[in-house]
């Protein structure tokens, strides 16, 4: 990943891809994403017709069901120009890294998918690449730790950037999570298909979270957030699992420094 020297020119306008989970389960994450982008001086468009990138069906092997949904996704987003931002590493990975395999027998769709994919960014990737990891100067007094979501880390290649962004939030005391880069056990449909294994992996993650002692766990993918929060709730823990977009948006609204950076 690039050092903290932002790419230029900086985009002034982006299109938001929510992801199906954010859209219907966690819209606050989407609103926070818009807040952050507007804070950075960008205008944000939302395509009303969007639904899903198709990842859940693809990961379960049902490519015939995935193809029409993914095709619809491409048809929708190729109508706009400029960067597309999604607050999810796994959805970004689906479009950029897995659409090629999905569309492998269709050269035309492969090319169209590539053209959309090359301007699709996960949120923290987008911030660090175009604005720098010190672009957000917010305030949030709390103790927190960061879980490295697998697809963001290994498919998109975003590792330390979210931590660097969070380190610039005034008052936020971050401590490293033991085995931060070990999976939380979500894996999409895996979490319900093989709940025993998913939960065994989650247990280890939750043990590490509780041992860490922070009030908050920050992560960049909604599925992982719910896997961990759902498990912590079941344990009777008061630890909050929060999407990084919500943390940053709150820190911005808390801060006395408003407006463009």
């Amino acid at each position: 990943m690039p050092e903290n020297t932002p790419d230029s020119p900086r985009p002034e306008h982006v299109t938001l891809f929510a992801s199906c989970m954010v859209d219907q389960l966690a819209p606050a994450v989407g609103e926070s994403t818009v807040d952050i982008l507007e804070y950075l001086g960008i205008t944000v468009d939302f395509l009303d017709d969007q639904t899903c990138c198709g990842q859940p069906a693809f990961n379960s092997g049902f490519r015939s069901e995935t193809l029409p949904v993914a095709t619809r996704f491409i048809e929708l987003f190729e109508q706009v120009e400029g960067p597309i931002v999604v607050p999810s590493g796994s959805c970004a990975a689906m479009v950029r890294n897995f659409y090629g395999d999905l569309f492998r027998s269709d050269e035309n769709m492969t090319n169209r998918a590539e053209r959309v994919g090359e301007r699709l960014y996960e949120l923290s990737e987008f911030i660090s690449r175009f604005f720098g990891t010190d672009a957000i100067k917010g305030t949030l007094a709390d103790t927190a730790t960061y879980h490295k979501c697998c697809h963001l880390l290994r498919e998109i290649g975003v590792d330390e950037e979210p931590l660097e962004i969070l380190s610039n939030v005034d008052g936020l005391q971050m401590t490293p999570l033991d085995r931060a880069d070990v999976c939380c056990g979500f894996g999409g449909a895996f979490s319900v298909k093989m709940p025993d294994i998913s939960s065994a992996i989650l247990d280890e993650k939750l043990d590490n979270i509780e041992a860490n002692g922070s009030n908050m766990v920050i992560a960049a993918d909604t599925g992982c957030v719910y896997q961990m929060q759902g498990g912590l709730r079941r344990r009777g823990s008061s630890v909050q699992v929060v999407h990084i977009a919500e943390v940053l948006a709150k820190s911005i609204s808390n801060s006395s420094v408003l407006g463009k950076s």
Partner: protein, 479 residues
């Protein structure tokens, strides 16, 4: 070895409640996984080495017929014999016939996963020939009648007490358990006599070198060296893919194999054998036999989507990185190869119709791909096999997805093909589930997500979508 892939879920469940095994399995992470990271960190050109290793394997597999012929010709030129075995039964028969023909009384075995495919040790014993595993881990599981739990550390699941019960003739329940050093010395004593009297050895092959007809063994214990020294007949068994073209390629391959397997910079021993003993040596095997086995690998080779799995150098790094392996253990995978590599090769080698659970048992975290010294893209192949079990296989028997599952994804697709229905579906689900929820969370969700709530709370769908909220915002902004 007979595949028992259908037992995956039940064996996994057994492991997940076995505190002692789970604790033992931690070693693969704290020891091997951390070791690899440290060794890689100490190696300046680590990524270059991985890329080179991948390129060497890609090239070799793409020309496997050429290099197999070169290997066989050179082994024979060196005075060795080569047998091409179509399957494990043929390979086993060759070794048994040879043992009888040479009047062999004692066979020593050095670690070989291929020999596990052949279930060779037991076959020899059943045929009246003493066959002793000499790698300490293999020896332990031979004593306990089990199959290997890990590619590198076959007895990783065993506690010290269990090892004492197997190795220590004087151990009685309630005694203080001897430490690892004492137990290791007991094994050394027991096996020393076996080494001295062995008249045949069967070893594996880490790398067979085509241009010189050499086989290379990477070991730490010394049993590999004993096996290539003491007996009069040495048989090396290998999967047909364990070839590299040149002697000089060994510097790259050894570096990535050893660091990835244990985190060592080099193993205690690397042994290269170029045929039976030479005329100026008085000791060393008189005969060298190389058994090259297919046993289903042709299927992997012919399968363009799965061919990359043949690049595997059997280091075990993917197992050490895998959060699933660390919870379900090695025996759940039901055959010779556990972990992520097992999840992709076992279904093709033993039959996808019974092994569908193996590629399904993954969160697709990608840690295996990250860990692999030759950058095998295991997640891509897990997804490929899932596609085949769901709907993609041309063999109906392999399409093991249930009607319920197919219906769920059909309904999902219908729901995702239009915004209106997407919103309606979400609002309806909230309508139905809200009575079951408290403060936005469900303790018990209905199928198909009931599995979730057995151990976790499940969130209720939001009362309004992002689309609705943003459109309200923009109306507000405009007003």
């Amino acid at each position: 070895m007979k595949p028992l892939t259908t037992d995956f879920r039940s064996k996994a469940a057994e492991t997940m409640v076995d505190e002692q095994v789970l604790q033992s399995l931690e070693h693969v992470y704290t020891g091997f996984f951390k070791g690899r990271l440290e060794a890689a960190g100490d190696t300046d050109n680590w990524e270059e080495l991985r890329d080179k290793g991948k390129a060497i394997k890609d090239h070799t597999i793409a020309h496997l017929d050429y290099y197999l012929e070169q290997l066989a010709d050179n082994v024979e030129k060196n005075g060795g014999s080569v047998f091409f075995a179509a399957d494990s039964a043929e390979a086993r028969k060759y070794v048994l016939d040879l043992a009888h023909a040479r009047k062999i009384k004692t066979v020593i075995k050095s670690k070989s996963m291929v020999s596990e495919e052949m279930a060779l040790a037991q076959a020899l014993i059943d045929d009246g020939i003493e066959a002793v595993e000499t790698d300490l881990g293999e020896y332990i599981i031979q004593l306990s009648g089990e199959t290997p739990y890990h590619l590198i550390a076959p007895a990783v699941h065993k506690s010290r007490k269990e090892v004492a019960e197997l190795l220590d003739d004087n151990y009685v329940e309630g005694d203080p358990v001897p430490d690892a050093t004492e137990l290791t010395m007991m094994a050394r004593e027991k096996l020393r006599g076996v080494f001295e009297r062995a008249d045949m050895s069967v070893t594996g092959v880490n790398f067979a070198v085509a241009e010189s007809g050499s086989i290379t063994l990477v070991t730490n214990e010394g049993n590999g060296r004993m096996s290539t020294t003491v007996p009069r007949v040495h048989v090396a068994v290998m999967g047909m893919e364990k070839i590299i073209p040149s002697i000089q390629d060994l510097s790259t391959m050894l570096r990535i194999l050893i660091r990835s397997a244990t985190g060592q910079r080099i193993s205690s021993y690397v042994t290269m054998v170029n045929g039976p003993r030479k005329s100026d040596e008085e000791e060393g095997p008189e005969e060298f036999h190389l058994v090259i086995m297919d046993n289903g690998r042709q299927k992997l080779l012919a399968d363009e989507q799965m061919r990359e799995s043949l690049n595997c150098i059997r280091c075990g790094a993917c197992l050490n990185a895998c959060p699933v392996y660390r919870k379900v253990g090695g025996h759940a995978y039901g055959w010779v190869y556990p972990g992520p590599i097992g999840a992709i090769v076992t279904p093709v080698l033993t039959g996808l119709k019974d092994a569908g659970n193996l590629p399904a048992a993954s969160s697709l975290c990608g840690a295996c791909h990250d860990a692999c010294p030759v950058k095998i893209n295991i997640p891509r192949m897990l997804l490929e096999l899932r596609y085949r079990t769901a709907e993609g296989s041309t063999d109906k028997a392999e399409r093991t997805s249930s009607v319920r599952e197919r219906t769920v994804w059909k309904a999902w697709r219908i729901g995702m093909m239009g915004r209106k229905r997407f919103d309606i579906g979400a609002r309806l689900s909230r309508l139905f589930l809200r009575p079951l929820a408290r403060k936005g969370w469900l303790k018990k969700a209905p199928p198909p997500i009931s599995g979730w709530t057995s151990t976790r709370d499940f969130p209720l769908v939001s009362s309004s979508s992002l689309k609705a909220r943003l459109s309200k915002r923009s109306k507000k902004a405009k007003s």
